[in-house]
Each structure stands twice: as C-alpha cells, then as structure tokens.
Amino acid sequence: MKFRIDPSAKKALSLGKDAVFRLLVLMMILLGWLSAMGAAALFSLEEVYHQWQLNQKSHISVYLMPDSTPQQIQTLEEALIIIQGVQDMRPLNQSVVRELVAPYLGYDTTLPMPKILDVKVDPNLDRDVFDARVKELFPLAEVDDARSMLQTVAESVRFVQAGALLAAVAVFLVLASLVALTVRSGLRAQQHALNILQYIGATNAFLKGLILRQVFARAALGMCGAMALSGASLLVLNVFYAPLIPYVTSKVWAAAVGVPMLLMLVVMLAAYWSAGATLEADYDINAPKKKAA
C-alpha cells in the first residue's frame, strides 16, 4: 500500500482555484482569534473573580459607633481574637475612614466618623459565632457580610461565562458550516476535474484524501495565524495595560493556543463530513448529474 500521493494527482483536484475555498485561511484566522480571545477573557474573568473573592473572604470590616472609646474597642479586639479563624485585626486610621466615606459624604463633612475594625480571617471562621460576639459587646455595630454579594457576583460571573460558552459554540458551528460550504463550493468549482478522476477510477477515499490534505494545509495555516494573533494580542495587552498582568495566567495562554487547535479539529471533521457527502452524491448513479462549474 503506497501512502505517498503523486504530485500530479494532487494538482488534479486543486480546491485552491475556488475563491471561496481560498478564504478558509482568513476565516480560520479571524474566527480562531475571536474564539481564542473569548476563551482567554473567560479564564481571565475567572481569575479576577477568584482573586477578588479571596480578598473579600479574608477580610471583615466591623463598623462601630463614632463615640466608641478605645477601651471598648480593645475589649472587642480581645473578645474576637480568641475566636477560631480570626488571625489579626486593627482599627482603621480616621483619615482612612474619611477617605472611604468621602465618595458618599464629601471631604468637608462635619459628621462624626465611625470607627472601623479591619479583621483578617481565614476559611475556618464561623461567621455566626463572630457576629454574635460583636453584637454582644456592641449591639449597634454593623458587620460586613459579603456572602450574599459574593453569591450574586458568582452568579453573574457564571452567567457571563455561560454566555461566552454559547458564543464559542456558535463560532464553532458557524465555522463548521462555512467549512462545509467552502469544501462543497470548491468541489463544485472542480466538478469537471472531479468527474474525470472518478471516470478513471479514483475511489472516494482517494478523493477525500486529496481534499482533506488541502483543507488541512489551509486550516493549519489559519490555526497558526490565529495562535500568533492571539498571542500577540495578549502580549500587547500585557505591555499597554499592566493591571491585567496578574490575571493573564497559564490557563489564559493555554486558551489562546488551545482554542485554535480545537477549531482546527472542528474544521477537519466538517471537511471530512462535507467531502464524504458530496462525493457520495456524485458517485450515486441514480442521482441527476451535476453540471461542471
């Protein structure tokens, strides 16, 4: 069994002569880049959310009345530090508190500022015990509870991710349809050559091999283009938008490289199916004969 195809056989069925087929590389680059950036954004968002969530979960702010004395605050600190999960705490400087409320009350407010105790905690903290102890000593104190907000943010993030996933599926479907169309269009443009090859005994497997090699060559070119463009986009973002750097993790880079590869697989499957369907119809001697383009 010989696996090397003679160059003249490759030339015999050249889908590249069809203008639509020539667009395959461009489509692959564009859609590959779009979906790679989409996936990269998805992983970045996950990272942003993860880091923010860690920050939210590791700090609790306790808001005390403005007239709370340092003695009362120290008593509270002593009562809280013995709770399991509380690691450290410190009262915020009044200038910091003023900065925090300035967006709501302005810098020149004469209202008395609350006292804020910033408590550093770990995941072992039992929030109910913590809240009960605070209320016991300071009935009018307010304790930040980020749980419901975290839940809302988590749901929003998941919603955005599901939307992006749907968009990715749509991109894949669009590309699969475009590939099926371009293969079909390429074969129609080469109907004359295709018929001659069939008349001299080319099997469907042989013809499919010729077609898939050409699709592979173009799709691989498109895939490399999409990878290069995605990589370059991430580098540019890193250079010109430094705050993004912590969120461009290895997963984000893997998405930029992996999604075009996945797209390549989709392209090859679509081409295999489309070529098979077109050739089967062509060899069907009961089917009406198609005119050469």
Partner: protein
C-alpha cells in the same frame, strides 16, 4: 514504438490474459429514460460482449450510442433491465466498487476530458497514480506511450496548447496506459489524420490481441473497412442488428 509498449511486460501481460467464463458486458432488456424526458433514450437492448472481443458501435447521431456508453462506464444506471460488467450487476455496486471497476477500463471520450491544468505527461499518468506515487517502470511506461502517440515533444504542454487531434491522442494514451481489460472509445479517430488514425487502430488491435475487450463507437465506414470487426448497430434507441465482421 508500439511494440516496445507491449514487449516491456509481454510475459506479464500474457499471464494476465485470462479469458473469464463470463461475458465482459451483458445487456439484458436494458432501457434508459432520462429524468423529465418523455421517451426512453434506449429501449429493450440486449447483447453480450465476450472478454477479448472487438466490436464497433455504430448508428446515426441521436440513436442512443452515448447513452449506451455512459451506462457502460457506469455514469447511468438502466431504468429497466440488467447491465452486467465484469460479471457484476452495476445496479448493486457502491461507489468504491464502481471506482475499482473503472480502473480495469479505459475510456476515450469524444470530448477528450483532459484536465486543463495538468500537462500531457500528468494527464496520461493519472490512472497510474491512483494507488499512490508511480514507480520507475510506470514512469517509463508513460514516456513510451506518449512517445508512441507522437507527443513526446509536447509532454510538458498543457492541453490548452494542443490541437484537437493532439488532445485526442492524449486521451487515448491515458485510456490505454494501464493496459485496461475493457476499452471503450467514442469516435477515437474523429479528430486525427488518416495516418494517426491507422496508428491508433493498430494500438487498439494490439491491445485486443493481448486480451483487452474493445468497443469503439464510430461513424467512420473507412475505419471499419480497414480494421474489420463485428458491429453493434443502434437506431432510435433500439439495437437494430448485430452484424458480423465486414
């Protein structure tokens, strides 16, 4: 030159010439009606061609010769009756079976059907490349047959730069290069001069002597007189007679 083409593998060819017990082509009450046509193009045609035989297919234009030809290279399936090629009912064949049977056939089309973006050499070598890359013997075989049809000086030319007669010779070279067991040719000498016509018929008769079954469609009475063989005469879609050698 033609001798070289056959002598190269004469011993091998001789062993390949095996007359099978079944006819090469059998038409049994075959009819064909094109889709949307009001009348059948072929009616109730029955005949048999033995392996190794040589026949002409004659008849006026529009008599149904092309339809019979298309059925023989499995481009059309009978709408009625049974057509058997190489002892296989073509109605039951799948795409791969059809392809493999076509590899045992040589077809010369009246309109040549050359691939316009391949050179003469590449067009002729196509049947040999279907199993992969050609070996040295096959490459020599291509050179010999191109030389024999008198086109070695145009081996690297594209069909667009060839005359009608030259294209016909390329089509013939492509049809015979893999030494087919069945050769069907539609007006193979229609575009060539008398001398080349005789050379082509000589090649065909040599192939026939080595076991290739020949069916040649022609209007050329001179050709039939020069190279006598039984004729299948088709008129108005019917087989009007099966005449003996002239």
């Amino acid at each position: 030159m033609i001798g070289d083409f056959f002598v190269t593998d004469y011993a091998e060819a001789a062993t390949l010439v095996k007359i099978d017990e079944y006819p090469m082509i059998t038409f049994e009450n075959v009819a064909y009606q094109y889709p949307k046509a009001r009348m059948a193009a072929i009616h109730d045609v029955s005949f048999e061609l033995e392996e190794g035989s040589f026949h002409y297919l004659t008849g006026p234009s529009g008599a149904g010769k092309t339809t019979l030809f298309r059925m023989m290279y499995m481009d059309l399936k009978p709408t009625h009756g049974r057509l058997t090629l190489f002892n296989k009912n073509i109605a039951t064949l799948d795409a791969d079976d059809i392809a493999l049977l076509r590899r045992r056939m040589g077809i010369v089309f009246q309109d040549f059907r050359l691939l316009p973006h391949l050179t003469v050499e590449e067009n002729v070598s196509l049947p040999l490349t279907l199993n992969g890359a050609m070996d040295k013997t096959q490459q020599n075989c291509v050179k010999e047959i191109i030389d024999w049809v008198g086109l070695s000086h145009k081996a690297r030319e594209l069909p667009a730069f060839l005359s009608g007669g030259e294209k016909q010779r390329v089509a013939i070279a492509r049809a015979v290069v893999n030494r087919p067991r069945l050769l069907i040719a539609d007006e193979p000498t229609g575009n060539v001069d008398a001398s080349m016509g005789r050379r082509i018929m000589h090649l065909f008769t040599e192939l026939n002597k080595h076991g290739t079954t020949l069916l040649i469609a022609t209007h050329d009475r001179g050709l039939i007189a020069d190279c006598p063989a039984p004729s299948i005469v088709v008129e108005n879609g019917h087989l009007s007679r099966l005449s003996g050698a002239a």
